[in-house]
């Protein structure tokens, strides 16, 4: 009866998670959706306290559990409250890794503790161990790369893919051993070591800017590890939740790959991140054709404009310019200019990255337009202001089929009457290729740090 109650609680929790995700699809209900998820989690945790084993462990058991819950909650809250919005990719990677780590340990404990492990338990334990360890270490490496703790050069060597394949095969071999003889529990920890090495060296060669795809995929893995743990413990709550998360991560990584017009395999194993060969050089593209402008000249453009579209990119995140952008928007709107934001699906370094930053600066979400919606309007736009975006506005994607970004859908800012591009130099973006937009007739460059540039524009606007 008790176990029935607990299982009902898990079912209720699963339903709350699903309904929560459904509500997460609309900005107006999203907060509520997240709360429903949290309530589901609370129900699952409270119900588990009634578990026969936990009750048998008595006061000491409860003490350890509560201590763990408390410590975890405090650390989690601190991390969540302290983190900067620009550091969200790292944060997700880190949290993700912790989930994977927990799966390793829970499955290991279940194996050590099992009286009479059957096939399902051992196979699922092996799966939890491998996926969990890859998730844990892969996520930590992703975090370290995004935080610039380790460089993009770290942990790359020739023959790496063979080495990784060897590690994967070793994990499988150790796994087979465990399945054959579940009493050799130390084999599990060897398996975790092999999978950990795999996790590290599978992520080190992935280029820094490809990291978000890796993170979404690791997110998916952490879900699958949870589902595998569910099979270990015969716990439907874990299985359902793990599958939901597994699906979520896969969909997000697919969306990113599609928006970059690349295959998942290419992102994970492909050579991008090194400089591309062929194609016109920067000199050929820019030579003598780039015009730069001062803040005052740009303000004159604004004075004759009726519609301005702002295109943020990775550089806005780096320079933390979002609040300055909000102020600029307010000033322009006060002068009767219509201002909208064009958000490319892979602008920045994470899906939805720009939306979060702009929302942080109190910009209403109905002004943030998706690619399909904003592209037809550039022809009626007087000034397009590109802040720290590069690849996502590179017209080469439309024109040169041999370019590494060929076929990637881009924001057609070049169709606007005038384009103002704010960045520090002519250096390329993540794809490493020159951008003919910067040399176009209707483009003016404003070379400066993103935030400083916007503040300069505001100053000049107020002076004018």
């Amino acid at each position: 009866m008790q176990s029935a109650l607990i299982n009902i609680a898990y079912l209720i929790a699963s339903v709350l998670f699903i309904v929560g995700l459904i509500k997460l699809a609309h900005p107006r209900t999203a907060v509520q959706g997240n709360l429903l998820g949290a309530i589901g989690m609370l129900i699952a945790i409270v119900a588990t306290l009634l578990d026969r084993g936990i009750i048998a462990a008595g006061a000491n058991g409860y003490l350890v559990i509560f201590a763990g819950l408390l410590v975890g909650s405090i650390i989690g809250t601190l991390m969540a409250v302290k983190v900067q919005m620009t550091a969200m990719p790292q944060m997700v990677a880190l949290l993700n890794g912790f989930g994977g780590g927990a799966s390793i340990l829970v499955a290991g404990a279940a194996l050590v503790d099992a009286k009479d492990p059957n096939l399902q338990l051992t196979v699922a334990t092996v799966a939890s161990g491998i996926i969990g360890a890859v998730t844990f270490w892969g996520s930590l490496v992703a975090f370290a790369k995004l935080q610039d703790i380790i460089s993009d050069r770290f942990g790359r060597f020739s023959g790496q893919q063979f080495f990784n394949a060897a590690m994967l095969l070793s994990s499988f071999g150790l796994g087979a051993w465990i399945v054959a003889d579940p009493t050799v529990t130390y084999a599990y920890w060897l398996l975790v070591v092999a999978a950990s090495v795999l996790g590290v060296f599978i992520v080190t060669p992935i280029g820094g800017a490809d990291m978000p795809v890796a993170i979404a995929l690791l997110n998916s893995y952490s879900g699958l590890a949870g589902a595998a743990t569910g099979f270990v413990l015969n716990n439907n709550g874990l299985i359902i939740t793990g599958s939901l998360v597994g699906a979520s991560g896969i969909i997000l990584s697919q969306i990113m790959c599609k928006a970059m017009n690349r295959s998942l395999a290419n992102v994970l194993f492909g050579g991008m991140g090194t400089l591309p060969t062929g194609g016109p050089t920067a000199d050929q593209v820019y030579g003598g054709k780039v015009k730069s402008a001062t803040a005052e000249e740009i303000v004159m453009l604004f004075e004759n404009a009726r519609r301005v579209v702002i295109v943020p990119g990775y550089g806005m995140a780096v320079s933390q310019a979002q609040h300055a952008v909000r102020d600029l928007t307010t000033i322009l709107e006060d002068r009767g200019i219509e201002v909208e934001f064009a958000i490319h699906p892979v602008a920045g370094r994470m899906p939805g990255h720009m939306n979060v930053l702009l929302a942080e600066a109190d910009i209403e979400y109905d002004k943030m337009k998706e690619l399909d919606e904003i592209n037809p309007t550039f022809e009626q736009t007087d000034v397009a202001v590109v802040i720290g975006a590069n690849d996502v506005v590179n017209p080469v994607a439309r024109t040169d089929p041999s370019s590494p970004i060929a076929g990637m859908p881009i924001l057609n800012v070049d169709k606007a009457r005038t384009v103002v591009v704010i960045k520090r130099s002519l250096s390329p973006g993540f794809a490493g290729i020159p951008n003919p937009l910067f040399a176009a007739d209707n483009t003016l460059m404003f070379f400066a740090d993103g935030k400083k540039a916007i503040l300069d524009l505001i100053g000049a606007l107020k002076a004018a």
Binding site: G20, I65, G68, N96, G226, T241, N355, V356
Partner: protein, 92 residues
């Protein structure tokens, strides 16, 4: 074996639900979706609590660490998602 197939059936259905539900989330909310779905993957905490309660000290320690890790994932994920979503505002 039958129990396994039942669990596997649940797994398959949940994947269908996941695909259908997640596919409807607009790009606007993809970052909160990532952190929010991340948070619920911390449901492993439930398994970790059971590991704590085993008589074996070794597995109790493993369980404790797992509770801490999973709980960071859960609380960190929900709180940061809440923080982010709180920022999304509509005109007017």
């Amino acid at each position: 074996m039958d129990l396994f197939i039942t669990s596997f059936t649940i797994f398959v259905l949940a994947i269908f639900v996941g695909f259908e539900v997640i596919n409807k989330v607009p790009p606007l909310l993809h970052t909160p979706l990532m952190s929010g779905s991340n948070a619920i993957s911390g449901i492993t905490v439930v398994g970790a609590m059971i590991s704590v309660a085993t008589p074996n000290t070794f597995t109790t320690i493993l369980g404790f660490i797992a509770v801490v890790l999973a709980m960071i994932n859960v609380v960190g994920g929900f709180v940061v998602t809440h923080r982010m979503l709180g920022m999304f505002k509509r005109k007017g």
